[in-house]
Symmetry: C2
Subunit: 338 residues, 2 copies
């Protein structure tokens, strides 16, 4: 397999990105194509033992940074590592593209300039994979599209279900709609309309779910509009930070607490691992015509390696072809006047 | 001051409710009017020392439970403790109504059957007061109205601002719109329209805020549609539960962790207190013509007492009159064709 990695992606690039590529090449035996400034990547690679690994470099003279506006980079930085990397996937020289860079930019470049949508897809959706207590839950859309239509939610359900089945190996994934109550009839007009469309669509739609049910793993795929989805994942991230900051702070105030903190370290490490987004590493942009995995800007090397792992799973599971086929086979889900 | 308390509200009623009333009467010296089944309340009161306290009982032959459908109770249980309690406030026999019962039912009975809306209010909004690191942040709407219009969000901003100023003693409260990005222009069409209305409305509108800014107390009032707001507060609640469950579990796996857990107890108690919703006790239903404070079903006695404290603050701050006046003085905020 040939995985294309944006070497200029993470906040600390190229360190975590290049090290993640080295780890992945070693663990999976795949070819990793590093895209970015050649000299910088070579220097970084020099710090690792790459004996026996297949690591290629493709030079990209520009890079996209976190402060770049997604709307401006498409034509504004045509030689960026994202453009060139996604171009390699488009031309069949790579099987998947992985980046820990600017999410909005990756979305724009992939959707509008390089891979484009799979035929029949209304809107590609950005997903997040939560890993809680060892179970993976796919959430989508978490921010690609704000004002959303019910037919898009229907497609999110289909695409998320295919991903959960083929990449995460769930059989007959349970698909639910995020809502403000479990009962049918709860939710906005959008949610109610989407529930009707999902019922009898062929996906295993189990109804509405509140955040509690989602976080407790009672669903495999949680479908939501990109605005609520974004609010939900950013709330998760912000609260986790607040809680751990408070704990850290309170475990410093006196000797007893400090001793407790030292003794509790392994336990906290285990807790952290169970809610750590870096254990998954990245999540797919679903609906574009190619495998694209987007990781967190704060990714470390292990997170980058794990994002590459997600890319492998999606390629092996032939997720893109399955979505293409799924759209054709489910006439109710095909593109309507849009 | 005369505070009316739904004695049949909390999940464990009437224990926590009655004990909360006793605590409040003792601490604040107010008259607390307990509404519910007289015999039950008398029996419960008998377990406490009520010497010198002014506690009255008003009998209500029906009670609303958590599984009751809000749409059905309005006419279905006209003699419930909520109906009778809210009726006392309507008739001027009480200054405020406090309940830890079924939120949807309280909303329906208050809005549609008893107090009704303040003239000019499009839709009453349900608020939550987050208390993080000692700072209080008002979130509204967290679930009264799902499909929302921009003019309603404008009014939520005004009402939240008045509450923060008059009950929480914030001067010139910072009001922000929940969005998926801080930059102007981010958010749904609804958010963008509301931002325009809030700009120059007289409230101290500081723009968009993401969950992170809200949780870090960079805003005093966070305005949101009831669907996203409900998703946000339920995500907070669910994640906090998941994290503390994981910590509890991991601090039990071996002797070292168990010792750490014992030593860390005071620190965890301090953390807990800083994110404990029961420290606030309850939050106002804003826009109805009377002070209504709704607490969590799981409230204990201290939470009920604190909810009564919120009611006192709202009465003292003359929040309802201030909202009535605010709507009159801000022509842009007055009722439009609805």
């Amino acid at each position: 397999m040939r995985i294309v990695l944006d070497a200029m992606g993470s906040d600390q690039h190229p360190g975590p990105d290049v090290e993640g590529a080295v780890l992945a090449a070693r663990e999976y035996g795949d070819t990793i194509i590093l895209v970015g400034d050649r000299a910088t990547i070579e220097r970084e690679l020099g710090r690792h033992d790459t004996t026996g690994l297949t690591l290629e470099i493709v030079h990209a003279p520009q890079k996209i940074v976190m402060t770049d506006k997604p709307a401006a980079v498409g034509r504004g930085k045509p030689e960026s590592s994202m453009h060139i990397g996604l171009g390699l996937v488009k031309d069949g020289q790579g099987d998947a593209f992985v980046t820990a860079g600017n999410t909005g930019a990756a979305l724009a470049v992939a959707t509008l300039h390089k891979l484009h949508r799979i035929q029949g897809v209304h809107r590609p959706a950005l997903s997040t994979i939560l890993s809680l207590g060892g179970q993976s839950i796919v959430l989508l859309d978490v921010g690609a599209n704000t004002d959303t239509r019910a037919e898009w939610l229907l497609q999110y359900g289909l695409m998320g279900s295919i991903y959960a089945e083929r990449a995460l190996k769930r059989s007959r994934p349970r698909v639910a709609l995020l809502s403000n109550g479990e009962e049918a009839g709860k939710g906005t007009a959008l949610v109610q309309e989407a529930a009707e469309l999902l019922t009898g669509s062929g996906v295993n739609f189990i109804g509405n779910a509140e955040p509690k049910e989602i976080l407790h793993g009672q669903v495999d795929v949680a479908v939501m509009d990109g605005f609520s989805g974004n609010v939900m994942i950013k709330t998760l991230e912000a609260l986790a930070q607040v809680v751990f900051d408070l704990i850290r702070q309170e475990l410093m105030v006196d000797t007893r607490s400090k001793v407790a903190g030292l003794l509790a370290k392994p336990a906290f490490r285990r807790v952290h691992r169970q809610i750590d987004p870096f254990e998954i590493g990245g999540a797919p942009l679903l609906g574009v015509d190619g495998v694209v995995i987007i990781g967190h800007g704060r990714s470390n090397a292990v997170a980058v390696k794990n994002a590459i792992r997600q890319a492998r799973l999606a390629v092996e599971g032939q997720v893109v072809d399955a979505i293409r086929q799924g759209l054709t086979q489910a006439p109710a889900i095909q593109e309507q006047s849009d």
